[in-house]
């Protein structure tokens, strides 16, 4: 299964992995595959607050710059420091070690607006809309 069942997905190819009130955010396998070799991750600072749909990070591959949209509203409580030195983690393990940051959710009910893995897999297979 390319897309883990315990993750929630956005149309714009981000995911949220929920642990209690914390959501770990990253980009999906489809997104990393479209981007190619990722060479730079601009993660947000701890303490910053984002609303769902706002740009919370920017990911750069050799060829392209891509904004990442926040799946759920919340405050950044942790940043994956490993991605600074090893941005390739987003290619190698996008749904695991390649997470970008974690937010404390302000409105967990927003998770209901996201896609489950089955729906997302179909969305990605259909070309994923416009990234």
């Amino acid at each position: 299964m390319t897309y883990p069942a315990d993750l929630k997905y956005t149309k714009t190819h981000e995911y949220a992995r929920v642990e209690g009130n914390i959501a770990y955010l990253g980009i999906t396998h489809y997104a990393q595959d479209q981007l190619g070799d990722i060479v730079f991750v601009e993660a947000p600072e701890v303490g910053r607050e984002f609303r769902a749909g706002e740009v919370f990070a920017t990911v750069e591959s050799v060829k392209a710059v891509s904004d990442c949209y926040c799946p759920v509203s919340g405050k950044v409580v942790k940043v994956n420091e490993k991605t600074a030195d090893s941005p390739e983690l987003l290619n190698q393990d996008p749904h695991g070690q390649g997470w970008i940051c974690a937010v404390e959710m302000s409105d967990p009910s927003e998770l209901d607006d996201l896609m489950d893995s089955e729906t997302y897999e179909k969305h990605a297979a259909e070309g994923g809309g416009h990234h």
Binding site: G36, F40, E42, E60, S61, V62, V65, A84
Partner: protein, 374 residues
């Protein structure tokens, strides 16, 4: 996609090898087969093969072929002889660049101009327009009838030698040979490239392109040869600090500011288009100069980003190309800045999406391969 993309004779070949096809200035070409980084490293360490049939070819023939080129090109084409390849910019009267090209000197006294994909129509108009002032010269656009592949990397000679009797070790850099048979296919071969590595560019009839590509891929299977796409074609040429038309060169940016002065032969003894403007520019001093930048803080400068002085208050110019480069593992850029800011070590900042990121002027070429041991 609104318009049908142009396809090279090797389109089906790209699909067969698993290329990811994108729209490259109207051409359907692969951006990569596996990954840009992998293909980049393969070229530097082993070998890589590209379809570069999107490039254009103009055939210039007749007794006045040399006169026409001496008038249109900034370099001295009279130094050519059959088998010689000469790089030259082609300028407008104001010194801006129409295109930059390779001139392959042919056995029959003619010349093959290898021009950029995006400039084929414009160049053909420009060159054939000028040819009307001559009595005995013909200009033919043979771009569609011609396939071109580029085999680049340290193992290139060994791989290509398996397919031909021509003694490739005797072919010097920027030289070539016509009517060479590569696995039975009649080709024109030049020892040239756009990667900073040793290698060859091989031309044949469009119909033979796919077979040529397959033959070379098979001959290189034990030498680390990979099919390669547009992505690393750009990172390799950028890392080797080679200019790309439309980025480092254009109608407003001439050869002198781009550091291509050695390809402008002011003393060649004939008038050439752009000579007066370029001479004036040389005497008065350049307004802007192309420099190499290394990012000192986290961030990647991309094409079009603005460059400021160290304090971030004075705008200096803009990035022509910027990227992460795999061999040097750095974030580098090229930019036009005023001459006062072009000294090595000068600190500048680049506006990376609203944030001023510190960078420093560094030497070009960024990457130079080690001299061949013989």
């Amino acid at each position: 996609m609104a318009e049908e993309l142009k396809k090279t004779p090797l389109y089906e070949t790209h699909l067969k090898y698993g290329g990811r096809i994108i729209d490259f200035e109207g051409w359907a070409l692969p951006v990569h087969f596996t990954s840009i980084k992998e293909e980049h490293h393969a070229c530097r360490n082993a070998a890589a093969l590209w379809d570069v049939s999107d490039m254009g070819e103009l055939l210039i023939e007749g007794p006045e072929a040399l006169d026409l080129l001496q008038m249109l090109l900034t370099n001295d084409i009279s130094k050519g002889y059959p088998g010689r390849v000469i790089y030259s910019p082609m300028c407008y009267p104001n010194g801006g660049v129409v295109d930059d090209m390779m001139v392959i000197c042919l056995k029959n006294g003619g010349y093959l101009l290898v021009i950029n994909a995006g400039n084929i129509e414009k160049d053909y108009e420009w060159v054939s327009g000028a040819a009307r002032y001559f009595r005995d010269v013909t200009v033919k656009n043979i771009s569609k009838e011609t396939a071109e592949v580029a085999l680049q990397g340290p193992n290139s000679e060994r791989i290509l030698q398996r397919l031909t009797n021509y003694p490739l070790s005797e072919m010097k850099y920027y030289h070539g040979a016509e009517d060479v048979y590569v696995d039975g296919i009649k080709c024109l071969i030049t020892r040239t490239g756009y990667t900073g590595e040793d290698g060859f560019e091989v031309y044949c009839d469009a119909a033979d392109g796919p077979a040529l590509f397959d033959s070379i891929m098979e001959a290189g299977q034990d030498d680390g040869l990979v099919p390669a796409g547009l992505g690393c074609r750009d990172t390799l040429r950028f890392e080797a600090s080679m200019p790309l038309y439309g980025q480092e060169l254009d109608a407003n940016h001439g050869p002198l500011g781009a550091g291509l002065g050695r390809f402008v032969a002011f003393g060649k003894g004939t008038f050439f288009v752009g000579a007066k403007a370029l001479m004036e520019e040389r005497e008065k001093g350049l307004k802007a100069k192309l420099v190499g930048l290394e990012m000192l803080e986290r961030g990647i400068a991309r094409t079009g980003y603005k460059v400021f002085d160290e304090s971030g208050s004075k705008e200096l110019g803009y990035i022509t190309t910027g990227s992460y480069v795999p061999t040097l593992d750095k974030n580098l850029a090229m930019a036009y800045v005023p001459v006062d800011f072009s000294q090595l070590g000068t600190k500048v900042t680049v506006d990376v999406r609203g944030k001023k990121v510190l960078a420093q002027v560094v030497k070009m070429p960024f990457y130079r391969r080690e001299a061949k041991k013989k």
